[in-house]
């Protein structure tokens, strides 16, 4: 049913999506918190920047990343100067690309969740002696929990379906940068419709179950809220 190469591509996709989601949760949480709380008047500039990957063709994002990360790009040169090697056509390069590509899918649900918490619970916590950091961990995070679930699942699922960016900066190296969506494309190109069919159906089912879990859990959380 699944050839070894397909299994490898699937495993790579899951690893990429998982790693990207974890990185994005760590980077996205402070960013979303700041976007939700700041009263800086030019905040919208940053919001537009965060949302850019939603509308930008993935190939455009991929192209710029390729230029930047490649052997002649600024980041590529920096990597070489530091004794490393350019990130283009490596798994690490895919992770960097995916972080940009899925950024809005993680930051926006988090920002919405923090905004929904509002200022009041944090003010209450302050009057009860909680320091700013304490307020964040003891009040804002638990109250924004549904947003974290949504952010993690959307970030994961969106990265799983990544195609254009990966193709541009990662190429199609089996076992190293060939992810599952590219494997499907390859099968279709090679007229192996049967294999493409199985992988696609598997991904469809997986995505649907994931969203089902999110909506189900979020509904349970929201019952516990006034």
């Amino acid at each position: 049913m699944f050839a070894e190469q397909d299994m490898q591509a699937l495993w790579l996709s899951l690893k990429l999506a998982g790693l990207t989601t974890i990185i994005l949760l760590f980077l996205g949480t402070p960013l979303a918190w700041w976007l939700a709380r700041s009263r800086w008047r030019y905040k919208f500039l940053l919001e537009a920047l965060v949302a850019l990957p939603l509308v930008l063709p993935p190939t455009v994002l991929g192209f710029y990343l390729l230029v930047a990360l490649g052997a002649n790009g600024p980041i590529g040169r920096l990597m070489e100067a530091l004794g490393g090697r350019p990130l283009a056509f490596t798994f690490a390069g895919l992770v960097v690309g995916s972080v940009f590509y899925s950024l809005p899918f993680v930051v926006q649900p988090l920002q919405n969740a923090f905004q929904a918490v509002g200022r009041r619970p944090l003010e209450v916590a302050a009057t009860l002696g909680a320091s700013p950091l304490d307020r964040f961990f003891s009040v804002a995070l638990p109250l924004a929990r549904p947003g974290f679930l949504t952010a993690a699942v959307l970030g994961f699922a969106h990265t799983l379906g990544e195609f254009g960016v990966v193709l541009m900066i990662g190429g199609n190296i089996p076992g190293s940068t060939q992810v599952i969506s590219i494997a499907i494309y390859d099968h279709v190109e090679a007229m192996e419709y049967g294999r493409a069919y199985w992988i696609s159906a598997g991904l469809l089912l997986f995505s649907f179950l994931l969203l089902l879990a999110v909506y189900g859990l979020n509904r349970r959380f929201s019952v516990a809220r006034p």
Binding site: R120, P121, A125, T127, L128, R135, S138, P226
Partner: protein
Amino acid sequence: MTVEGRFFLQRGGFTLDVDFRLPARGITALFGPSGCGKTTLLRAIAGLEPRARGRLKVGRALWQDEQVFLPTHRRSLGYVFQEPSLFAHLDVRGNIEYGLRRLPRSARRPSLDRAVELLGLESLLGRKPHQLSGGESQRVAIARALAVNPALLLLDEPLAALDEARKAEILPWLESLHRELAIPVVYVSHARDEVARLADHLLLLEAGQLRAAGAVDELFARLDLPLAHRPDAETIIETRVAGHDAEYELSWLDFSGGRFILARNHLPKGSRVRLQVKANDVSITLARQQGTSILNIFPAVVDALAEDDRAKVMVRLMLGEQPLLCRITRKSAADLALAPGKAVFAQVKSVALLL
């Protein structure tokens, strides 16, 4: 422990500029119409308005001046917001313990039990906020604020979001706070009846400025303030239960200007009770009227008169030390030739216990 403060804050077209002093214990009402700056002043005291400049001293502790700004979480206060604002992810016990856990170990007294007992929350401790009624939630919010043993308790219209039935449920708890707490309490309200029931002192705010400050019974009876000119203007009189008349089921309540007689209550002799006399329920006679059903008649001296509307005047009488407002027609005032210093008799048709 007295509280002294001065705050200045400009926001849009609104300017708050208030210099105030709170007595060491008892409830001080911040009273005034909506938009006069009551809540803003309360938030400034709590450090929730970082842009408010000024000075605040609570007892010997300096909370704010030009150099110092103690952030909210380092100020020893309890704050109850208009809406209960309970933490939805914690149960009632978790909410009340939240502040307690953040106190230094040495400062933790068995205040949780006391707060829970004071607000009658024993049976609700395991509930989640969404399982509570509005009145219960607000009681939890008050207990949560009290559990940290604050040096100062701030209440921002804690009854405003509740219907009449829920208000009636909370008021007795607030009154018990009044008796039990040895700390200054600031109570924001625009409801005159709450202030009349609960407050000892009054800060009267108008458009961001302090219009008047003083004991609540004095301010209610001052003719130069708008309080004395509302349709339901009233006098508040502090009395002490002197005894009960078993035969006629009456109670005697003494005050500095005499003794009120009213339907029997069940308060023990010696307890302090606040009475409310509506200005519309007082009439004036030049001689003590004989053959009347009115029980409460006091010798009085006219202190001042002020025009109330085109037909009515408000007369401020003194019953010994105790002022009493009386609203009569302008014609009656002229017929009786009322003028400051004139000796008269005040007839009080009805009087209510503020309980």
